[in-house]
Symmetry: C2
Subunit: 341 residues, 2 copies
DNA sequence: CTGAAAGCGCTTACAG
DNA sequence: CTGAAAGCGCTTACAG
């Protein structure tokens, strides 16, 4: 059974133990004011010894801020679909990295309920948010701005070229890298299962794909694929592609889980990967890495993106004007699905 | 660009607008004290009109609690593996449901960094935690109790039969249901890929499996499978099973993603599912539902489990002594992998 | 270099 | 039924 809660160690306790005022404790611990270095050191030591940590509630009240930030995943239709989004490796890695950095900066990350109205947002009571993959003119950005709250997006809102607080990968460069790689692996007719959304990530990738095709004098083959029921949608689109008389010999499956659907469609048709069909993913995942076969994919390095977004957001909540946007480097993970050797 | 933050509407503003004292506002809004019904109604209306919401920071400071709770996922080895856990459908659905309920009860759910020491926990500053799948004698439970903080587990700690604050499914009943179903579908030699852990969920399932085998005079075939690299581990174990001279004609793949590994192993050997091999999962997921073939599985109803855990925990933080443990009903989802018709 | 005091926005014991 | 006041634990402008 749990014992009664230990009474909290407050700044007064530290002050008493160190024989100074609470002002001096506060200054010492926060690196503010002009405190005798010896005093500062002693205060720090006493505080550590007593296991003192400033009350987040008190700090928040004093500062007039909540000290928390929200992590908001993309909304794709109804709640049931949100769950599918939530369990994607990419978002979970973003969330986990963002949580770690935010926490270090004394801004715990919280998992919010869906935000649709200004009232929802007021009720949420956060100092700001990280919003993943905003739709074009995402209404949630407007809500935050309405309340004067900073919002950092991962990927950008195509309807707001002025909103520069975002983090993203070099989407166009990544798509070119992927295409060059697939072409070098022998892909002649390279199709794209694009993500049917208004996300900048989708648009950037598709645009780069089309530009690359034009430069290389190849006919673009684009199949817009739903972001709901990722695997099944991709399977359907891949079937359509593979049943064409001029079927592609390579498919780039843009969104997470798309590749699994492509692999299934290929298998059903007796097409071997990579011998008969090259497959590559626009975004890496556990499933891509451990699937059968393992799928070559772009690793957007969500740990770096999430960390960058959190750092940016915390800086904004503190009134700073940090450098933005931030472009995070990505990596091409080459795997069996594009290696014919 | 974002406008300056709107000044917060405080209880004083409401009091002034309603022409009463802050005491009366507080009482009216919180249903406390003896307030004239007409006054109460007026205050509520004015508050709503001004868009007033009590400052969580102020309430937390007053109450001496933080007003937040942590959602802690199982630790399986290093950080990299935690990420794999985090992106499982099951935990995400738990988290999402728990977040919703907790938020409604004014206890936002936060995503904590790993908790290993008492200091980590103090630094975290939450009022309690929901801990998923505790290991036997999970050290984190002891840490919370050390600080007098309530902790609700999803599944129970096998080393602490006294800790009754948990939520779980009817694991043994579920396994029997699954076995009866698989046997009815024609399974004669039914093997179990069990989860190699000290979780109660694993233990309950394995125990029920063995008991069922004994009752039905069948030889148990148990392959303990690692919880790291779920799919690959399951693939390896399934290969071992399927290469035995007396290979099973049915495999129960306990943990999430195990079934995918089993399917791969079967396919490589030219075994058709369900004709040559029945496959069922101990836990449902998107992957199971949308895979090829769709996999019969137990749906633990994580939305209900997460909601129950949050409700239980919030009650505990408020000093109540709610009914516990709570057993949440599960569902058998029958799919193509066990239907030979 | 140090400290007394005000005040952030609540809730509640208490007085009327 | 209503309200004035104390106090939760901080930070900071200000005085010394």
């Amino acid at each position: 059974m749990s014992r009664p809660a230990a009474p909290r160690v407050t700044i007064r306790d530290v002050a008493a133990a160190a024989g100074v005022s609470v002002t001096t404790v506060s200054h010492s611990l926060n690196g503010k004011g002009a405190v005798d270095p010896a005093t500062r050191a002693r205060v720090k030591q006493v505080a550590a010894q007593l296991g003192y940590r400033a009350s987040r509630a008190a700090q928040a009240l004093r500062a007039g801020r909540s000290g928390t930030i929200a992590f908001v995943i993309p909304s794709v239709g109804a709640v049931a679909e949100e769950r599918e989004m939530l369990s994607l490796d990419y978002y979970m890695q973003l969330a986990s990295a963002a949580a770690r950095v935010a926490f270090t900066r004394r801004h715990p990350l919280l998992l919010p309920p869906p935000i649709e109205t200004l009232d929802d947002l007021r009720e949420l009571g956060v100092d700001g948010a990280i919003l993943c993959d905003p739709a074009r003119d995402d209404p949630r950005i407007a809500l935050f701005e309405e309340l004067g709250l900073p919002i950092v997006t991962i990927e950008r809102d195509l309807g707001r070229p002025d909103h520069r607080w975002y983090v993203e990968g070099d989407n166009r460069g990544n798509m070119r890298l992927l295409l060059d790689h697939v072409a070098a692996a022998g892909g002649r007719r390279i199709a794209l299962l694009s993500a049917d959304s208004t996300w900048s990530w989708s648009a950037d990738n598709e645009q780069a794909y089309r530009a690359w095709c034009e430069e290389h004098e190849r006919t673009p083959i684009v199949e817009p694929t739903s972001l709901r029921h990722l695997e099944t949608s991709a399977y359907d689109r891949a079937c359509a592609l593979l049943d064409r008389p001029d079927r592609p010999d390579a498919i780039i499956a843009l969104a997470e889980r798309y590749a699994t659907g492509v692999v299934r469609a290929a298998r059903e048709r007796g097409l071997r990967i990579p011998q008969d069909l090259l497959v590559a993913g626009g975004i890496d995942s556990h499933q891509a890495a451990e699937g059968d076969p393992p799928i070559t994919a772009i690793d957007l390095q969500p740990e770096l993106q999430g960390a960058a977004a959190a750092a940016l957001l915390v800086a904004l909540t503190e009134g700073e004007r940090p450098e933005a946007p931030r472009i995070v480097p990505s990596r091409l993970r080459v795997r069996a699905s594009t290696q014919r050797t």
